[in-house]
């Protein structure tokens, strides 16, 4: 019989397992909005207008909502884009217009106990900083939400600009072009080159890796295969 969920019994014995299960122990959820339930306190109205430049209001108002401090107070948008959130007691609130398509910046609205309103930029770090905003609120959409990442598309320029490719292509160019530019038949030049080669190879006793490889391949499969194996160092080996 197949038993996928085998239980390490010894483990259970040893570790004095507690099965952490907790369900019907009646724990109530939080007290909800503690402050908002003042009876008979004065209630005020937050008003404003949301604008999406270049889009007709009919096309987006049905998906929009005005959220005051999370979902503590909810308002809806009129067909002209204006809104009013009723029944808000005095305090300081973050007012947000949310739609799935457009991005609106939140605004903080302060209401004094006498009903004076003030709107300012939301700054969660310096909470007392005041940068005034117009009231009644004028909230302009700053464009559509960007939900998606761009796929990396494959293009020739991307391929060529890849550092690895550049590292491969440049030495190749040098190898192909340099012998054409520099006259290798000149004996002085040859001497100089040999010197520089020796400088590059600090320990002449150590066998050259590329040479080793060429020998290895040519030994088994004929010399023709080796041409493709290590392009960078091959010509140097040949020269010698």
């Amino acid at each position: 019989m197949l038993q996928r969920e085998r239980i390490p019994l010894q483990l259970i014995f040893l570790q004095a397992a507690l099965v952490v299960a907790w369900c019907f122990t009646d724990v109530e959820t939080g007290p909800g909005a503690g402050v908002s339930t003042q009876p008979n306190g004065d209630r005020f109205k937050i008003e404003g207008r949301a604008i999406v430049p270049g889009i007709k209001t009919q096309d987006w108002v049905s998906t929009a909502r005005v959220l005051v401090e999370g979902e503590e107070y909810v308002g809806f948008l009129r067909t002209d884009g204006s809104f009013a959130v009723n029944d808000v007691p005095s305090g300081s609130y973050v007012v947000e217009v949310v739609t799935p398509t457009y991005r609106f910046e939140p605004v903080r609205v302060d209401i004094t106990t006498k009903g004076k309103m003030r709107a300012r930029l939301v700054n969660y770090i310096k909470t007392s900083e005041v940068i005034r905003q117009p009231y009644p609120l004028q909230i302009r959409a700053s464009g559509p939400h960007s939900y998606f990442m761009k796929r990396e598309t494959w293009g020739w320029t991307d391929f060529l600009m890849n550092p690895m490719v550049m590292m491969m292509v440049l030495p190749l160019l040098i190898i192909v072009l340099l012998p054409k530019v520099v006259n290798t038949n000149d004996p002085e030049m040859r001497k100089e080159m040999e010197q520089s080669m020796n400088m590059l190879n600090p320990n002449p006793e150590l066998p050259d890796v590329s040479e080793l490889m060429t020998k290895l391949f040519s030994g088994s499969k004929g010399s023709s295969k080796a041409g493709s194996s290590s392009k960078g160092t091959r010509p140097a080996a040949k020269r010698r």
Partner: protein, 988 residues
């Protein structure tokens, strides 16, 4: 400058670990279903003949327009939860819908074509009684709202108040209804209970009282006008009295005396114990109501009556009839009657489905099929060719409401469509002659708990698995078995290929792999699972996680309205031939009494296993990792006498329990007394208290207790530091995170506390207090960390705090963890962050082996589900960047966490009122399945560390194959060239 560098670093890090949806992945493995909730009011949009809208206002404070052709939403407006968003009334006129919201606090008018708000006005305080549209000269321009003490009239065009009047004698009279029939008067009907009716007539123009009738109309039997009276015909208030078994009629225009008409005189008889109900119809608020009306005499007995010159005449008797409804189109009004077809399911079937409880309603029989017929309202004659067959779901509930959309056909006859609402909150829209156009399972708007169950293996897969499970009996037979299973595989593969080939020839639209229960099987990576969802109404659903299709549904008939549910998977699908088994514990929150429902999660069928009856209130239930001989995990139930019972309770299980008893611990929480207590099981299945923690309930109360998930795996025991040493995690599987909130809610003195307690020993590992903070607190507890979110009253913002526990540089006992033997207290690290939004719920991703990095899934009130890498909530984030911290890939500390819309896993598919997020591992280590539920349900997959174990779906096969081919040809050509060159050289 330093700041700039920090910012730049942050950006780099952000980009490096960004994990988002690509646009071409939309709808590939995710789906969303939107719901509205149980319908309270519904109106068909009739002002345009071809309109496809039906307006619904629901008990979940949602107002929406549904497409009658498809059942999809045109638009939906989700108000606040609770009584402040409660919809009291829905009135529709033309393209305006007027709603009274929040016990008469707000009056809103919606434009139903666009779904935008026309206007919203605040009404004076006072409890709402009734509302109606008021018309004059065939024009409807006003709406009247009746409150306990006042009546106000508002213009429909802009909501401005026309007049408001206080009602007279409100101390004695209980005003309950408002009525108008277009003659410029508004009638307010009130009652002095057990004494008389009071009527106040207001002039529409200025709110002047035209006439006031009190004391004269005796009605000692009446206490609720709306329940027992309707206005019929030319302003005749008609009431029915169940005690006196008679009609009482009062002409509202004359208001002289109530005339009594005994029901017997009309040869009508009320079913014993039934309170008769009247139903009338006012097609146009500017006109008088119809003079025909329905009287319900019994649960399945209706009578159509007509009022003619003050005389009531019986027109037609409907028995059996389940539901009746009026509908008007143009000038014609019809009555629709829904009656059962003679097939009925006997009562015993339901009783068998839940044997532990008696069936509450004595008439709980189900009709498999019902038929709806239209009758002319004027004559009571049946209209020809109007029968519509409604097939009721045997696993559903009784029909509860019938809404009829009537329309005129080309030949001037009346056609109709019907929307049937059943007890289990299902809406079914049916067209003649019985074609179901759509069904909406509104119970899914209130999912309480859910589990994901692996799908079963197919027959062939099971056969293959069986090969390894069985005992070996010789070399030869093993070889034969292997060969035969390989043959089966080959056969299956060929079959698959053939199907692919066959499907490829068909046009794409026809290729639709319909998932039914029969062809369900586990896929390669176990990405497709069965979602078992439990809803508050007591309806259970089995949903295919890949498509979102509902594969089975089962309505539990006698679930108490305030029940708490706990769903447990006792046996998974891994134990073929034993069927998988789920157990649902349903507990009445008031009495604590519980019942068990045992079912097969794949087919939704009730299991043959009889669950034990639970006579005592249940305090706690726990699933043990023990199994009985049939591979069912053992469920322990602790009752209020602290006695433990096991399910299944076979001898084998009891024996195992006795052996294991010394190592089984559990804990109980009593939040009202602030008591947390730990218990141990004794061998005789009694319990023994071993620890107790009292949190004084006067100061703070326990709001939640979170343990770790039992199926969670942690891959790495520690973290490698910058200097190559290892910091070991404190991985206590028995750790509980207890969250408390202060009872004092003053913003200077309120606080929240978090306690980390070992559930076995009761040892307090850590305690933290967050001052000037209040709830609601959301907690996620996993691995060696606890993340919680709270509201800071001082700075008026939401803050996250993370606690991580480490054992230190060396591990005390690296093989096993025992709570009883851990002498060193763990190191505790904590850090807090600002979060720029409030949150609805929070959960952590979960993968098969725990190798993949963790993300937090945060449900926001805006409907987005944010996937926040746990990396950002790491108490080791340094304030000053050092070489070592860079080596460890720690992000420098920044006080504010960012919300980036690219991290929304549900892009624009917002999920309203997220209530819970369920995460489940899949067969792929990189992939975690996520279900967010609330008003909507959204299912998707997330890849917290990207897809490292499968090829990405944008993998460029073209590129790799073209490069391969190019290289291949290049070698061929260069070989040839080299040969030529060699040859040339040889000749030289």
């Amino acid at each position: 400058m330093a700041k700039l560098i920090l910012l730049w670093l942050k950006c780099v890090v952000l980009w490096a670990i960004v994990e988002a949806v690509f646009e071409d992945q939309v709808g590939k493995f995710d789906w969303r279903q939107q719901y509205v909730g149980k319908v309270r009011f519904s109106h068909f949009d009739t002002h345009v003949q071809s309109s496809k809208k039906v307006l619904v206002a629901t008990e979940r404070n949602v107002f929406a327009a549904l497409n009658t052709r498809t059942g999809e939403l045109f638009w939906r407006h989700v108000d606040k939860t609770g009584s402040e968003g409660n919809i009291d009334a829905l009135l529709q006129h033309g393209q305006d819908a007027v709603l009274v919201v929040g016990n008469g606090r707000l009056l809103r008018s919606w434009e139903i074509n666009v779904g935008g708000l026309n206007w919203e006005v605040v009404l004076d305080s006072g409890s709402f009684q009734s509302a109606c549209l008021v018309g004059q000269q065939d024009m409807v321009k006003h709406v009247a709202v009746l409150k306990k003490t006042a009546i106000s009239v508002h213009y429909l065009s802009n909501g401005h108040q026309k007049w408001i009047e206080n009602l007279p004698e409100t101390e004695t009279v209980d005003y309950q209804a408002v009525y108008s029939d277009g003659n410029g008067e508004v009638y307010v009907l009130g009652v002095v209970p057990h004494s008389h009716i009071a009527i106040v007539v207001y002039s529409m123009e200025d709110g002047e009282i035209i006439k006031q009738v009190n004391m004269s109309v005796e009605a000692p039997w009446l206490y609720n006008i709306q329940a027992s009276c309707v206005v019929v015909g030319q302003g005749m208030l008609t009431c029915v009295d169940s005690a006196g078994v008679s009609f009482y009629m009062l002409d509202l225009h004359l208001q002289l005396q109530m005339t009594q008409v005994p029901l017997q005189s009309l040869a009508l008889e009320v079913d014993p114990g039934f309170h008769p109900v009247l139903l009338s119809h006012q097609p146009n608020p500017a006109r008088q109501p119809l003079s025909e009306f329905f009287l319900q005499l019994g649960p399945d007995h209706y009578q159509l009556l007509q009022l003619n010159n003050g005389q009531i005449a019986a027109m037609r008797d409907f028995k059996p009839a389940l539901l009746v409804s009026f509908a008007t189109t143009g000038e014609k009004t019809v009555a629709a009657v829904m009656s059962p077809k003679n097939k009925t399911v006997s009562k015993c079937e339901i009783e068998r489905s839940l044997p532990s409880r008696p069936v509450f309603s004595s008439r709980a029989f189900l009709h498999i099929a019902c038929s709806v017929n239209l009758f002319s309202a004027e004559t009571g004659r049946r209209l020809l060719d109007t029968t519509l067959i409604v097939n009721m779901d045997p696993n559903g509930g009784k029909p509860e409401k019938l809404y009829v959309q009537a329309f005129l056909k080309k030949d001037d006859s009346v056609g109709y469509r019907a929307m049937v609402q059943t007890e289990d909150h299902t809406l079914t829209f049916i067209q003649q002659p019985g074609r179901v156009m759509w069904t909406r399972e509104e119970a899914l708007s209130d999912v309480v708990t859910m589990e994901m169950v692996d799908l079963p293996l197919t027959g062939t897969q099971a056969e293959l698995e069986g090969e390894f499970g069985k005992k070996a009996d010789g070399l030869m037979s093993m070889v034969m078995k292997r060969l035969s299973s390989q043959l089966i595989l080959l056969q299956a593969w060929i079959g698959h290929l053939w199907k692919l080939f066959y499907d490829a020839r068909k046009p794409r639209s026809q290729v639709k792999n319909d998932v039914t229960i029969e062809n369900l099987s586990r896929d390669e990576f176990n990405l497709q699972k069965m979602m078992v969802m439990v809803t508050a109404s007591g309806k259970l659903f089995g949903i295919d996680s890949k498509t979102g299709g509902i594969l089975w549904r089962h309505y539990l008939h006698n679930v108490p309205p305030n029940a708490a549910f706990k769903l447990m998977v006792q046996r998974t699908t891994a134990h073929f031939p034993h069927p998988p088994q789920c157990t649902l514990l349903i507990k009445d929150k008031d009495t604590g009494l519980g019942t068990l429902h045992v079912f097969n999660p794949i087919f939704g069928k009730k299991s043959h296993v009889t669950p034990p009856a639970l006579p005592q209130p249940i305090l706690q239930s726990l699933m043990l990792p023990l199994m009985d001989q049939d591979y069912a995990k053992v469920l322990l139930l602790v009752d209020d006498q602290y006695k433990v019972s096991a399910f299944p309770s076979t001898k084998n299980v009891l024996q195992q329990l006795q052996e294991m008893a010394a190592s089984i611990f559990f804990y109980l929480v009593d939040s009202s007394q602030g008591r947390l207590s730990g218990y141990r099981l004794r061998t005789d299945l009694s319990t023994e208290q071993i620890w107790e923690v009292i949190i004084p309930p006067e100061v703070q109360k326990i709001v939640s207790v979170k343990g770790k998930r039992p199926n969670e795996h942690v891959h790495s025991q520690g973290r490698v530091m910058g200097d190559r040493s290892v910091l070991y995690k404190y991985l206590n599987p028995n750790l509980l995170a207890v969250v408390t909130e202060s009872t004092d809610l003053h913003q200077e003195r309120s606080f929240i506390g978090i306690l980390l307690i070992d559930g076995v020993t009761g040892r307090i590992i850590h305690e933290a207090i967050q001052r000037k903070a209040r709830g609601p607190v959301h907690v996620v507890h996993s691995e060696n960390w606890v993340v919680y979110e709270y509201w800071s009253t001082k700075s008026r913002r939401n803050e996250f705090s993370v606690i991580e526990l480490y054992e230190g540089m060396e591990l005390y006992n690296s093989t096993v963890f025992s709570s009883l033997d851990r002498p060193h207290a763990p190191q505790v690290l904590q850090q807090s962050y600002i979060f720029p939004s409030s949150i609805s719920t929070m959960e952590a991703t979960l993968t098969e082996k725990g190798i993949t990095s963790r993300h937090l899934l945060i449900g926001l009130p805006s409907g987005g589900i944010l996937s926040l890498p746990k990396m950002f909530l790491d108490p080791r984030r340094p304030e000053i960047v050092s070489e070592q911290s860079r080596e460890e890939n720690l992000i420098p500390y920044a006080p504010e966490l960012l919300i980036r819309t690219e991290w929304f896993i549900n892009y624009n598919q917002t999920v309203s009122r997220v209530r819970g997020i369920y995460t489940a591992p899949s067969g792929l280590e990189s992939t975690c399945l996520v279900v967010a539920y609330g008003l909507d349900i959204y299912q998707t997959r997330v890849y917290p560390s990207k897809q490292f174990d499968v090829l990405k779906d944008d993998y460029d096969y073209m590129l790799i194959s073209s490069v391969l081919f190019a290289l291949f040809f290049a070698t061929m050509i260069s070989k040839r060239l080299a040969e030529v060159k060699l040859l040339n050289r040889a000749w030289r």
